[in-house]
């Protein structure tokens, strides 16, 4: 194929697909090429397994290792799937910091003929892949060594796949909101992602039922799509969990799914509005290529 033909075929690919594909490839290179594959695999797994192990030890110290109780899969699965939140949501927003402050390439990327929001979403793909492996390993570890009872025949696969898919899209959109804010921030951009992920961990009932929170704080959890997403994932893998806790006992799987879908659409619209507003302000204020060294 001549270079002219190649250019023609490339130009036929929609801009947003090209942006997404190349951003995903770039993201993977940045995430993984600092170490050899073995070291990188260990690095990717040690953190999530340690996080899960802290909770497992806390649980076993108090309950004497009663892994049959429904609270254990509630905590364990919630924590395992929460890995996606940190990886996808903060991964997308982190691309702004990485490109602007560290590699100092954001200004070039921004003026390149790409679709910028799609580029940022693409940068989250690498972290999504790494997170997926971590989630799988953490769950497998629980099944093999901690009596985490997941009956593959009883798993509601359709619900699981649909919920997972919608949830990951929802997290990516939340990441886009954060990325927009990052464009405007010169201070605290380092802490923002962590603060949001930490707050969601607390209020979404990821590792404890919402009833444990003081009543005046519970409503925050009900407004978060992550709360419904985690509940759906738990229900699809271990049905008995849903019956053990009253939080969403009155809602069926389908009702929960529709709530998740509705909230995802809502946050999706919000993400594009917020991102566009922030992007426009960042351009006006000359912040696209700012390097703060902060």
């Amino acid at each position: 194929m001549t270079s002219v033909n190649r250019e023609e075929s490339v130009s036929k690919i929609p801009k947003w697909i090209r942006s997404f594909r190349l951003a995903a490839w770039l993201g993977w290179q940045i995430e993984s090429n600092w170490a050899d594959p073995f070291l990188f695999a260990i690095y990717s797994l040690v953190k999530p397994i340690s996080g899960a192990a802290i909770l497992v030890i806390m649980y076993s110290v108090i309950t004497g290792g009663d892994f049959e109780s429904p609270i254990f899969p509630y905590i364990y699965l919630g924590n395992a799937f929460y890995i996606y939140v940190g990886a996808v949501m903060t991964g997308i927003s982190w691309a702004v910091i990485d490109d602007r402050e560290h590699y100092k390439t954001l200004k070039y990327i921004y003026v390149a003929p790409i679709h910028f929001p799609t580029y940022l979403l693409g940068r989250g793909v690498a972290r999504f892949i790494i997170a997926s492996i971590s989630v799988a390993v953490v769950i497998l570890f629980g099944v093999l060594f901690l009596s985490l009872s997941i009956d593959l025949a009883a798993v509601k696969w359709l619900l699981f796949i649909a919920s997972l898919l919608v949830g990951v899209i929802m997290l990516a959109l939340l990441g886009l909101i954060l990325a927009g804010m990052m464009l405007l921030l010169v201070h605290h951009m380092w802490g923002l992602g962590e603060a949001v992920a930490g707050a969601l961990y607390l209020f979404s009932g990821a590792i404890f039922p919402l009833e444990v929170l003081p009543p005046f704080l519970r409503w925050i959890g009900y407004l978060l799509p992550i709360t419904y997403w985690l509940e759906l994932l738990r229900r699809s893998l271990v049905g008995s969990v849903a019956e053990a806790f009253p939080t969403f006992a009155g809602l069926t799987d389908i009702e929960l799914f529709w709530i998740l879908l509705g909230l995802t659409v809502f946050y999706g619209v919000l993400a594009f509005v917020v991102f566009r507003v922030c992007e426009s302000k960042a351009r006006d204020r000359g912040l696209i290529d700012v390097v703060t060294n902060y």
Partner: protein, 290 residues
Amino acid sequence: MSRAQSGVSDPIVYRHFRKNSGGRLFFQTVVARAYPRLIGQQREKSWMFFDVFLPLLSVAAYVFVYRAIGAPEEYVGFVVIGGAMTAFWMNVLWSMSSQLYWEKEQGNLALYIMAPNSMMAVLLGMAMGGLVATALRAIVIVVIGSWLFGVQYEVSNYLQLFVVFLLAMIALYGMGMMSASMFLLLSREAWHLSNLAQEPIYLVSGFFFPIKNLSFWVAFSASLIPLTLGLDAMRQLVFPSGESLGFLSVRVEIAILVGLSVVFLIGARYLLAYMERLAIQEGRLTESRR
């Protein structure tokens, strides 16, 4: 321009140009490097918010986990103390170990090495400034955490508590000074290593549960990190049932912390000398490789 015109010959002005050396220069360097951490950081009020708010979020999450599984209330106190101590670990990790790496990235490291002051004094200043500034944040976390979750303390020996805290900090920041040199030999891995050394250290050092619950050899190995024994001893000293949940007796833990302090401070001196030698011999230690 003559010397008289420049004012250097004036004895009053000349005093200000007196060449510093030895202990005086060392002390001035320590103060100068501690200053931005001690005073500068306090000027940025919003940093205080993030430094206190983030550990409090994880403290709250773990407290609610303990409450969800019906743990005794003392465990809530364990989490609050452990959460406060995470501030020190984060400070050592990101503002001590990684600091020279950041300086390299920003182009300051070459200036540090060229300047006539001791690098040990630079690290000591960083450590002292960071220690005091982080202590303020840790106190706020303990006060707010204890107030929010109604934690009760019963200190059995104030002197031992003070000694344990002091020794744990000397050993911890000594370790930070030592690892700063090691991190300098790294490139992009430095960031990843700091990132990696969070949850696994929280796990093996028992930040959120008594270290005794791990096997003896895991707890013993984790004791290389000064916060492991520091936390264990402090919990024994401030909670009524702490002693029964302690890994070793407080006296033994104090003795080990003394040993760790000495080893890490001497190690820091040797590694720093090695790093400076490498900077001079190879001439590429200060280059920033992204």
